[in-house]
Symmetry: D2
Subunit: 415 residues, 4 copies
């Protein structure tokens, strides 16, 4: 078995943490039990490019136990957890290529190492592995299809498909309701608060929190801020969303006005330059800024840096002092606050995302005639995962009776 | 001027109430001011079949002041408010045909009276006026198009369209976001609680409330129950919605199990036989049942009646006593609790619905080449109404900057 | 049997409503069952001066079934429900003196009628019956003691006691935790919202609600406003309470500033002139004002009337138009909005209040050596009522183990 | 200058963190500015025994700048932050005695070092410094009085006072409303959630959280759990509190029953053996247990250990595996979860506690005739701190007008 990891002696520590994560991955647990016996992936090689975390480890084990040979490289060297890598190699006999902090060169060598195994199926996060197979298709001969985890990756894939360049079918896991919906509203909602608490230890109760963007992320964040006792202001550019925020009991105003009253500001718009130096100039001294959108473009850090002096005051917290003495604080250098300052989504949320990955792989394997396009996760998989999650939590729900089915159908047809 | 109303001397009282409603119809107010001058409906006759309420009166006045001649008949004789009818006739010179409690015969005579004016545009609620023009098209010659307020009406229209029988274009106002979304979540949410309080005067705090159905209505009702201090249980047949309810902090269980612990039960599924005699047999003595779905089929009243003795204990509240002495209470005979036991949607909610009606009429008039189909409300009208509502509430929001527009566009294209 | 009521033929209707109230008076129900057998009040005459409502009727029946002869007069002619009076006379053989709308003269005659029965125990609401026995003690010879329901009454009694004029012991039911605490926070909280909805039918969601006073009433009202989707502002004069309001996530500001942004204003300070003409001048046109404090002094109606023209627009809702066209709306003429515009406290809340009355009477009867003072309800009665309420709701709680009792005691003693 | 600290080179790092804490200590900031000039403590030596944290550092600086010489020893060697100690010595010239992890012997030497300075005033946390002066009063000659921060310390002091052994007046800072009320409800509420998130990274939304004890801590914890999306169950032994919990919308049940449904359990009763092995046997595998009460006696860890195998799975999280494979997880070894697994109370909360300390010292100095008793913080200090906190947060409130004062007074007197 081949691998490239930091230190195999970390395997025991890795195992404890992977086990803990598995406690809250009820759907993967059910799927693992179910497919360990009939091994749907028997004889297949599956190449994965993912963040090497405890949750990913559990997906890898699921795929392995379902019969596949598994090869894993890191989708980002900064997120690689070396103890998890060690555990996968030592205890689960999975080939892992990735060390925390790997250079750019090593990063691509790791990808190459997975490619060399000529996988039948691919699991990607950010599209780097799939892209590599498109740049050099000498190793792509066995590929049945792939899955992609992220919005960013899906956009790259759609662009390929539009230009007729996509070489195999890809399922966009990100679009599943049981993925993006729970990620955004419940995952980001909680982990943003978590990131703020860990990096500042401020009392949220009594604060005025400004949330820019009232999409699913923004709703989750606003709800959690309110739940912790903050008074919440929403800023929006979409009139319908703004009206919903008003009806949900929040104050809504332009960001330039909110700048004057906020104590803490979180951006979640998915757009650029939401908090610019103009807003910062209006803010109170002591204001805290963080980003829960995507990338690190929502807060204009360049503008801030050019107008102030910077020093680090706590882990994940920088202080910027203006010439007039006013201080602005920025969380995690404007990167995603839940990833940079906390631990990202809880396992329970990743569970549904990765269950989509697992069943999407199975779908690809069972439907070999799919043309090279970007596909949504089939709706029945989406529903099935919600069902399994409920079952895993010990929650039962109703089923439509025959009479009710008939009633609904007649109604839908307008007869 | 022709009309058929109860008592024209009620006009003053009607005016007061219509004025009060107008206080909270900010969008109609803005539209009235805007179109009173250039009179877009000048020279047009507009026939309307709507509930004759204070909110409808304000829509009628808007249309009149925008230049049209207006003819109004009742879409339901039981909802007709005679003072409002008197006000419209006496003060606004609008032809109204409808008395509270009109017979079936009078009901259709009233519709006929509106038809006879050979209207250019039609506003309908339940599709009876439009249907009449389809049964007898001798008076339909001038019709440019129509709008329809309700789900039920739209279903009938889609059926006509599918069979190639629709004679003119109809805009389905019900489908606008600013209509159904606010109606369901905020309107039904509040007015269901209102209906319960008026008909029972029970203390909601400390009660266990069971809400069947976690669609937009159910979410609104659940949120308001929680807001009044109840402990809320959700029952659902859809696994995804059920999982959302769990994540929102509610208990989720089968309705048969919820039946044993609930103090008050509200159905909002849009389906039939949700609370059957089987559930009722499991309920505690004193349980209160109401329906906020549609029609009166969600609670099995026939089953209940056959197993118990009925008496009325308060306005809008019937007591059913089983042979073993157990008592079950039903609100408003299982009809929509917010309409039967309270005053339906607040004016502020109807404002958006009727603003859609008004602008949809204007759209029909300005686009005379529309083929006979069922149309959605154009998206720009929907957005515009949200904007006007915010403006009417004195709330300002942000606009995308040129830089942000560019960023979003580049992103959407994946470049 | 002697009585003075409106119309004995209303008895059946009265019975239905009294039965309905009894459904939610779990503690009275338990006490009724318990004391119907051993009849602790056997041989005693009990004179009561209370609001003649469905809840009072149930207390009367409890006392009667516990062995007493009961005489009831109205504590306020405007709250007398004639059907309830008829029911008590016809079905329960209780002497009732009171007609809805009785004159001042009749009011005192009714009191006199109760006095003439030379009661052993007295139940009072507002202290008029007790005062009458102090003005003319020729009929007071049998009196063992009395109970008083209200703050106002208790203040009058404390004044008597301080001056050495009190002639028999009185238990201040108002001070029991199970009375004032639940009345204020849960009763007033809900019924204030109820009163607003019934008299205006406005959409609370999206409104800015200003609550003056963050005592127990104010907290209840603020919580319910938030629960219905309003954005809530608190005004306070006490810094500690203001700080709690801030930490609870509300905005706090001076009332003069809140005046500019509020849509609806509720006073609950227990003080005078909270909303004066100065605040009203700053308010937006359309602002709605109501009072949930005590009496009708919190809103300066005299000032408002002198600056504007008044007309009634709905039941319980007056419109005041200023010379510049601005309109201000006042609920229930500034009297307690939950009593004037809704039905007062729900039965479930009155249940605990009246259970205190019942057990306080029993306490007086069993402790005949109490000196003429104003007493708190004994703490064990207070706790007992909470226990019975829980039991009546089917809720079980823990008991301290022997080990825990010992631990707590050792701790309290600091050993 | 004398001191005993770990490493003076940590001073810069300490300063950054102390500065950050000061950002949210608005009351200390106002008091520092106010008393830096007239130096009320000039010529006094003040001996302090406190947790050496960033918040304590700010109190020390306040006292120093107000004119005193300050001597600080650690109240617990495990909470000492060495960088903070270094900062106080190097930058603020304050004598500090304490290293993280000091032995029991060093701990008492440090106390002795403070005693030797013969302080005029004492600030204590847990009563060890005050006790030491009682055991050996040769150095107590200058003492004017002392303040005590904790419940535990106050209990020891009350015991001394009761036995006539107390030698100087002590003000019980813990009893101030602005101390215990905000500590418990807002401080413990948030930091308990914080501790859970840091040590588990679980998704709170959708979990069933069981909170034992509905005192101020329990209310805070329950509110925050609900705010994060959990479904909350309360267990109580007090019927009144239990009833409040029911009315607040929570489920209430015996702990033995809650044991079967809970996912996470937090104790906050202040009593012993709340979660015993009997409850643990009923729990689901995966249940997480934590304590937010006092000491570590609420969870029966001895019982748990004897029935299971233990291993550590994450920082601050131990797994106990029963013979049947069931797993129970315990946070921070059953010690206070907010201190053991997070950073304790936020600075904003400690601000009010320490402002009480500061003003209580000033009160002692200005009232030298106080007899040796345990005193409450004077009410005007309590109110003043709430006022300053509001001012520091930029929040203004109303004052009673002359008319209102008169009204309230007349009312209170019942005239």
């Amino acid at each position: 078995m081949d691998y490239a990891i930091r230190d195999i002696r970390l395997a025991d520590k890795g195992r404890e943490r992977v086990d803990w994560a598995f406690q809250h991955m009820q759907v993967l647990k059910i799927l693992r039990d179910r497919y360990e016996k009939n091994k749907p992936f028997k004889g297949l090689r599956i190449g994965c490019c993912l963040h090497i975390t405890t949750e990913t480890a559990n997906l890898m084990v699921n795929i392995k136990k379902a019969g596949a040979q598994v090869y894993l490289c890191a989708s980002n060297p900064l997120s690689t957890q070396d103890d998890v890598a060690a555990y996968l190699v030592k205890k689960e006999k999975i080939s892992v290529f990735g060390k925390h902090g790997d250079s750019r060169k090593s990063y691509y060598e790791n990808i190459k190492n997975v490619m060399k195994r000529k996988p039948h199926l691919i699991v990607d996060d950010g599209c780097d592995l799939i892209s590599s197979f498109h740049r050099d298709d000498s190793l792509a001969g066995n590929i049945i299809g792939a899955t992609e985890e992220t919005t960013t990756g899906v956009i790259r894939l759609r662009s390929l498909a539009k230009n007729g360049l996509l070489k195999f079918p890809v399922i966009a896991v990100n679009d599943a309701n049981t993925k993006h919906f729970f990620d955004n509203k419940y995952g980001t909602g909680q982990s943003t608060i978590d990131g703020i608490l860990r990096s500042t230890n401020i009392l949220v109760a009594g604060m005025t929190a400004v949330v820019s963007g009232y999409g699913w992320c923004g709703r989750g964040i606003a709800a959690r801020f309110r739940g912790m006792g903050a008074n919440v202001i929403i800023t929006e550019v979409d009139s319908l969303r703004a009206l919903e925020a008003v009806m949900d009991g929040y104050r809504v105003m332009p960001v330039s006005e909110a700048a004057e009253t906020g104590d803490v500001f979180i951006t979640s718009t998915g757009n650029t330059s939401v908090l610019t130096i103009n807003e910062m100039k209006k803010m109170k001294s002591g204001a805290i800024l963080g980003n829960a959108g995507h990338f690190n473009v929502e807060i204009d850090l360049a503008g801030l840096r050019s107008a102030s002096r910077k020093r680090k005051v706590r882990e994940c917290l920088d202080e910027y002092t203006f010439r007039n003495g006013k201080k602005i604080y920025v969380l995690g250098e404007g990167r995603l606050v839940n990833l940079a300052c906390a631990e990202g989504h809880p396992s329970s949320v990743m569970d549904m995302s990765f269950a989509n990955q697992f069943l999407a792989l199975k779908h690809l394997k069972e439907n070999r005639d799919m043309t090279p396009e970007v596909y949504r996760v089939p709706e029945d998989i989406d529903k099935k995962i919600a069902e399994l999650k409920l079952a895993g939590m010990g929650i039962r729900i109703d089923k439509l009776t025959a009479e009710q089915k008939k009633y609904v159908n007649s109604w839908d047809m307008g007869t």
